[in-house]
């Protein structure tokens, strides 16, 4: 019993917090007689659910779901093999399709044949060699690096928090703000009609 409780307190306190917050909101909505307090209770109730979703996405030692570029000083430094190939392709984009073939060939791990393919590409684009030579060189370098570091530089999903609940809650926040707005507008109309926001007094006035 005590173990289970301490387990919840130690590892699932975020869920506990959201349950407590949700109950506070629900209690305010049901028990308070002032309409403004009820509306605030509603806002707390909705925020609790948003916190629940955010808790779902949290992981230990995880960071924001944004990919960072960290090469060896090379601005096209690759994180993965595929990524490296892509940036290689980007570097030579201005030349010809043949470079793409080379890059694709490298993605299958055939470094040598890729080199041949790139040579062939050089031949084909002979007239543009001066202009693109540097770009191809950079591409080959990036591909080589990617092949070397690809295995341990791959994106690991466990390193990042799950972005989807955050996106969902962005929508839910918009919805709850809209609901709050409509509720406050209705409260204003009620106040104009009865000159009070106390539900008991309003019901008294209706009965008369």
């Amino acid at each position: 019993m005590f173990d289970a409780l301490s387990d919840i307190l130690a590892h699932k306190y975020n869920y506990l917090g959201f349950i407590i917050l949700m109950m506070i909101g629900l209690w305010a909505m049901l028990a308070k007689s002032n309409l403004a307090k009820k509306i605030l209770g509603m806002a707390i109730f909705q925020s609790a659910i948003i916190l629940f979703y955010i808790s779902v996405s949290v992981k230990e030692n995880a960071t924001l779901p944004i990919l960072e570029h960290h090469g060896h000083g090379d601005e096209h430094g690759a994180e993965t093999a595929a990524h490296g190939v892509q940036s290689a392709a980007h570097a030579t984009e201005s030349t010809l399709q043949s470079t793409h073939d080379a890059a694709q060939a490298t993605s299958h791990g055939l470094a040598e044949s890729a080199h041949d393919a790139m040579q062939a590409a050089n031949d084909v684009t002979h007239s543009a060699v001066n202009a693109t030579g540097d770009a191809l060189h950079a591409a080959a370098q990036a591909v080589g690096e990617a092949a070397a570091h690809g295995a341990h530089a791959a994106i690991n999903a466990a390193d990042y928090v799950n972005p989807l609940p955050h996106v969902l809650m962005l929508t839910a926040i918009v919805v709850s703000v809209a609901t709050l707005g409509v509720a406050l507008a209705l409260a204003m109309k009620i106040y104009k009609e009865y000159n009070t926001l106390d539900e008991d007094v309003i019901l008294e006035k209706i009965r008369q």
Binding site: L26, M29, L35, K38, M42, F45, Q46, I49, F52, Y53, V56, L164, P165, L168, T171, A172, V175, A178, T179, V182, A183, A185, L186, A187, K189, I190, E193, I202, I206
Partner: protein, 502 residues
């Protein structure tokens, strides 16, 4: 042409949405543009939904990929026999009701036509989206779109409307939040938000405690939103005090669409095997539905205001549909989906008739409806036709869905549900014949001409404007039409029911 057919699911939801935008923009320049633009938008939407139902009836279900993205990642619409009829009836209900609103809107929402029609179209968009979407989170957003525009429309009535709407808003938020919480649990367990995808994952997983929690939360949220019996308290006040053009839109749509959402959750997301193997729960739900039917029928008997009486009848009908769905057999489920369609048409007829009456009389204490039949013959004929459908007399549509519900009740051995259905028909007979008796046999009271003019011979008609009565007559005749078409509708529904449901 075929490319247009492929885009039909998007058009059904997109047309009312973009006409809402158009109405807002146009009414800056010209207030009179609001009504025709809304009418054209909804007419096109109704045509699209009709074309879609013909397409589904011949070619089977359709998955529409938004922007061409594949379902588990992208957002998709799913249309099959279960929802295509609901889509069609809702777009037609909105269109028929809209075509009859103009005089009442001029009277009750003077000078704010543009805002009214924008909210109207957004409300229709929300409901259509709820029916067509196959993404559980989008369903939540669309529930809120429909509800928010609904709150604005309902809060815009008599002096008591804002208070009753605020209470509706509180209950609506609790219901929708429970649903959202359930979606969270579903997402934790399956990692997906697409209905068909979740269904596939659940097939492999089997029952887990998280899924049970998700199911419980989603169901309780939906039941609160549809005003199922113990949670129905908000509905009579909210509908009673609102303006009649708004109520005759929202009353036929909201509860029915939530019943459809429940059926979709039970059949597609959680499989029938998972839903109906839950010990006492299905039996308990049928018992609650039977209690809802009887108790709300009695409440309807005690109501003095015609509108309030109809809102209690509406809650009774929710009991029919929930009970039928939880019987757990094909006949019951067919009856439920058919009743969603039929009840939308019946409720539309009844509330439009009440709208015509209240256009002429203001408050509607039905004891004061003496001699109304010869004065408003068309309105009252439509009202009688609607009442006959609600009672369940054969040529009208109400009979056929009730027939399937009773069949399902007998098959499942739930005698209490069958008894409640028959009892409710009897209560409806008593209820509506009280109105007929006062309206038909008692004489028009002397000297009640509102302008103080001397009383004229009793035969002179004082009908509501023709633009209000004509759509009412159309919807009343549609009740017979739907009844005659019942075998076709049932065929479409039965094709879509999963094979695991006997």
């Amino acid at each position: 042409m075929s490319s247009l057919t492929q885009q039909l699911p998007a058009l059904v939801v997109g047309l009312p949405f973009f006409s809402a935008m158009a109405v807002t923009l146009l009414t800056w320049r010209n207030r009179d543009a609001a009504f025709p633009v809304a009418l054209i938008g909804l007419a096109l939407c109704a045509a699209a939904s009709l074309a879609l139902s013909i397409h589904i009836a011949t070619d089977g279900p359709v998955i529409y990929r938004m922007g061409g993205w594949e379902p588990p990642m992208g957002i998709s619409f799913y249309v099959d026999g279960l929802n295509v009829l609901v889509l069609a009836i809702i777009s037609f209900v909105a269109l028929v009701n809209l075509s009859g609103t103009r005089p009442a809107v001029r009277l009750e929402y003077a000078g704010k036509d543009g805002s009214f029609y924008t909210l109207y179209l957004l409300c229709v968009t929300g409901h259509l989206g709820m029916v067509i979407t196959s993404d559980v989170f989008n369903l939540y957003v669309l529930i809120e779109i429909a509800a928010l525009s609904g709150y604005a429309l309902l809060g815009w009535g008599s002096s008591r409307a804002p208070l009753s709407t605020l209470n509706y808003l509180f209950i609506g938020v609790i219901g929708a939040s429970f649903y959202l919480l359930g979606v969270g649990f579903l997402y934790i367990q399956t990692g997906s938000l697409n209905m068909l995808d979740i269904a596939g994952i659940i097939q492999i997983l089997g029952v887990t405690p998280t899924l049970t929690a998700a199911f419980g939360l989603i169901m309780s949220g939906i039941l609160i939103k549809m005003a199922f019996f113990p949670a129905h308290g908000w509905l009579p006040n909210a509908y009673c005090h609102a303006g009649s053009p708004a109520v005759s839109l929202i009353a036929p749509m909201t509860t029915k669409v939530m019943v459809y959402v429940m059926v979709r959750m039970m059949l597609t997301v959680f499989s029938p095997k998972l839903v109906f193997d839950r010990g006492l729960l299905p039996d308990l739900m049928v018992l609650m539905a039977s209690a809802a039917i009887v108790i709300c029928g009695l409440m309807a008997l005690s109501a003095k205001n015609l509108k309030r009486m109809l809102t209690y009848v509406l809650i009774t009908e929710v009991g029919y549909m929930v009970g039928g769905a939880w019987l757990g057999n094909r006949a019951g489920m067919t009856g439920t989906v058919l009743h969603v369609v039929n009840d939308a048409a019946m409720t539309l007829t009844m509330f439009m008739a009440v709208g015509c009456l209240s256009y002429k009389f203001g408050k509607l204490d039905y004891k004061k409806l003496q001699g109304v039949f010869p004065k408003m013959p068309f309105t009252m004929s439509a009202f009688v036709l609607g009442a006959i459908a609600m009672i369940g007399v054969p040529p009208t549509c109400g009979f056929f869905s009730k027939w399937y519900l009773i069949l399902g009740g007998l098959e499942a051995g739930h005698i209490e549900f069958v008894v409640a259905l028959i009892l409710s028909s009897l209560i409806n007979v008593v209820l509506f014949f009280k109105v007929f008796e006062i309206g038909f046999f008692e004489p028009w009271p002397e000297g009640t001409d509102s302008h103080g003019h001397p009383h004229r011979p009793a035969i002179a008609m004082r009908e509501a404007p023709a633009s209000m009565v004509a759509p009412l007559v159309v919807s009343a005749l549609a009740l017979v039409g739907l009844g005659l078409m019942n075998s076709k509708l049932v065929a479409i529904i039965e094709n879509a029911l999963p094979a695991s449901l006997y």
